[in-house]
């Protein structure tokens, strides 16, 4: 009873927030609605009994990715009236792309077929919830059977990260940098010199 109510609550919020992401005029509001959608999706994962995925969704997407989104969007200098002026101009191409995507989705969903026996294959590695919680079940699966896929995904992310740094990094000549090691290793003997100054004479 309670879980049914919770499911419909979360599902409604996900869909409503998703609609508001594209409907709200202010891009910052859009990102905030997106965060609400992520949050409710995490709630749906909890209802499915996948609490590890739910928490990771919150930590990774809401806690890090959406913060960066919000950063970028807040910094944008957008003229809203100008933005809305182009609406009619871009309507045909936007509508065409939307229709193509819709047709593809309908085709995929309409012809969806599960391979015979795939049901058992999917459910086989999952032990009952009471024997093993899904965190350790997931870990046992990822680090054994799917270790290569897991490592490959990590490498792809690493390459993307290095690529982004290489593309945006400019080395400008002639800037002064703070070198902490130099500051720490500086001793009194390097900086001070005590001289005996005779009266009436300079150094």
């Amino acid at each position: 009873m309670i879980d049914v109510i919770a499911f419909y609550l979360f599902a409604t919020v996900v869909i409503a927030a998703g609609v508001m992401v594209i409907a709200s005029r202010n891009p910052v509001h859009s990102v905030l609605w997106l965060i609400l959608a992520f949050f409710s999706a995490a709630g749906l994962f909890v209802l499915l009994g996948a609490e590890f995925i739910a928490m990771i969704l919150l930590i990774v997407y809401v806690g890090a990715v959406a913060v960066l989104f919000l950063f970028v969007v807040m910094m944008l200098d957008i003229n809203f009236s100008e933005l809305r002026g182009g609406f009619l101009k871009y309507l045909p191409i936007g509508a065409t792309i939307g229709l193509i995507l819709l047709a593809e989705l309908v085709l995929i969903v309409g012809t969806w077929q599960s391979a015979p026996g795939s049901g058992e294959a999917v459910s086989a590695p999952t032990p009952p919830l009471l024997e093993q919680d899904n965190t350790s079940a997931l870990g046992a699966l990822i680090y054994t059977d799917y270790i290569y896929a897991f490592q490959a995904a990590g490498l792809i992310l690493l390459v993307a990260m290095i690529g982004a740094i290489v593309l945006t990094h400019r080395s400008r000549p002639g800037i002064k940098r703070q070198v902490i090691a130099d500051q720490v290793s500086r001793r009194r003997e390097d900086a001070f010199e005590i001289k005996k100054v005779e009266t009436g004479e300079g150094i």
């Binding site: 202010n26 905030l32 965060i35 609490e51 919150l58 913060v67 965190t135 703070q178």
Partner: protein, 352 residues
């Protein structure tokens, strides 16, 4: 919470008298609400007194007297301040984004409170004993950025925006090293449940994690300071440069909610340190076990809060680029290395 305790509650004649006419799920719901109140009300009281405690310690270190006028020893100072804030007018700047401006302090306050749902006060004495407890706290504390970032943006003020950007960058960077520190512990404990983490430290203080994980504890403590925007990392509200950062446009209860949320978060970090590294509800010696567990946890939280206040009074504020350097160039590589080192040592010792 154990179902046995609920059964005792259910069998009370007073409960039958007041709630007897309700359906069974509503009675269970009121039991849960009762438990929530049993956590939240003492917590808010503790927040009020910890503000007083903080100011007293700070004053003592500067050889001042601190608050000493309202009530005996100034104990009621926080309540006087709260009442004053409550009676003030809530000002919403005309250029502000109204909805988000009001929502931001509420989010900060709510997130600071809901994290306490998984803190175990004693064996079985926990509101929600979920098996991803530590991840839940981690997720909630990473959501805490939004209260600050939203308030800064919605205020439509340069100081507030700069403060919130600083704060968001700071919290995101230090969360990474906190995460790695947690991994070094979890490798040994083998569970994300907070009760299991405390149970792994039973039997005297030499079994507490802070001995073997002392370097990790230091990193965690410093990251916790940065995560809660406490001095020396209080750059988001650096009053010398940013007036008060993201709180600059807030007045009255909205400001009070930020304040309460901030202190509730500090207490949460203290509780987390007690649970992860200092044995949670356990007594340090067997002969002290007659003192109930919750009191031990509260004593440890108070001790860490004292250390937080101590640091605040004695350390100068970091510069922003130094803060980022410490987070990304010192703590991140160090904790990443520690994950490998600790897992390697534990595997070699056969403790995993």
């Amino acid at each position: 919470m154990d179902s046995g305790v609920y059964q005792i509650f259910r069998d009370l004649w007073l409960v039958d008298l007041i709630l007897g006419w309700l359906p069974e799920w509503a009675i269970y719901g009121s039991w849960i609400i009762l438990l929530i109140l049993a956590i939240v009300l003492p917590l808010l009281l503790a927040v009020a007194f910890s503000v007083y405690f903080d100011r007293k310690i700070w004053a003592a270190m500067q050889m001042r007297r601190g608050p000493n006028v309202v009530g005996p020893f100034g104990l009621l100072q926080s309540f006087a301040d709260g009442l004053k804030l409550f009676l003030k007018e809530t000002i919403i700047p005309s250029g502000a984004n109204k909805g988000i401006f009001i929502l931001a302090p509420m989010i900060t306050f709510t997130l600071a409170l809901i994290a306490w749902a998984v803190i175990p006060w004693d064996l079985g004495l926990v509101l929600s004993d979920i098996n991803v407890g530590i991840l839940y706290i981690f997720a909630i504390s990473s959501l805490g950025v939004y209260g600050i970032i939203m308030s800064g943006w919605a205020s439509n003020s340069r100081y507030a925006f700069l403060g919130s950007l600083r704060s968001a960058a700071q919290m995101v960077s230090y969360e990474v090293s906190i995460g790695f520190v947690l991994i070094t512990l979890l490798v040994k404990v083998g569970s994300l449940n907070l009760t299991d983490i405390v149970l792994a430290q039973s039997g005297g203080f030499w079994n507490w994690h802070f001995i073997f994980w002392f370097p990790m504890f230091v990193i965690f403590f410093i990251s916790a300071l940065a995560e809660t925007n406490r001095p020396p990392f209080d750059l988001p509200e650096a009053e010398a440069e940013l007036v008060a950062g993201y709180q600059v446009e807030y007045s009255s209860m909205a400001f009070a909610l930020f304040f309460l949320g901030e202190y509730a978060n500090i207490l949460l970090m203290c509780a987390l340190m007690a649970i992860l590294f200092f044995g949670g509800w356990y007594a340090p010696f067997a002969f002290l076990e007659f003192i109930p567990g919750p009191l031990w946890l509260i004593a440890k939280i108070s001790f860490f809060f004292f250390v937080f206040a101590w640091v605040k009074a004695s350390v100068p504020r970091y510069r922003y680029d130094q803060l980022m350097r410490l987070g990304w160039k010192v703590f991140l590589p160090l904790s990443l290395f520690a994950v490998m080192a600790y897992s390697g040592i534990l595997v070699a010792m056969g403790k995993v």
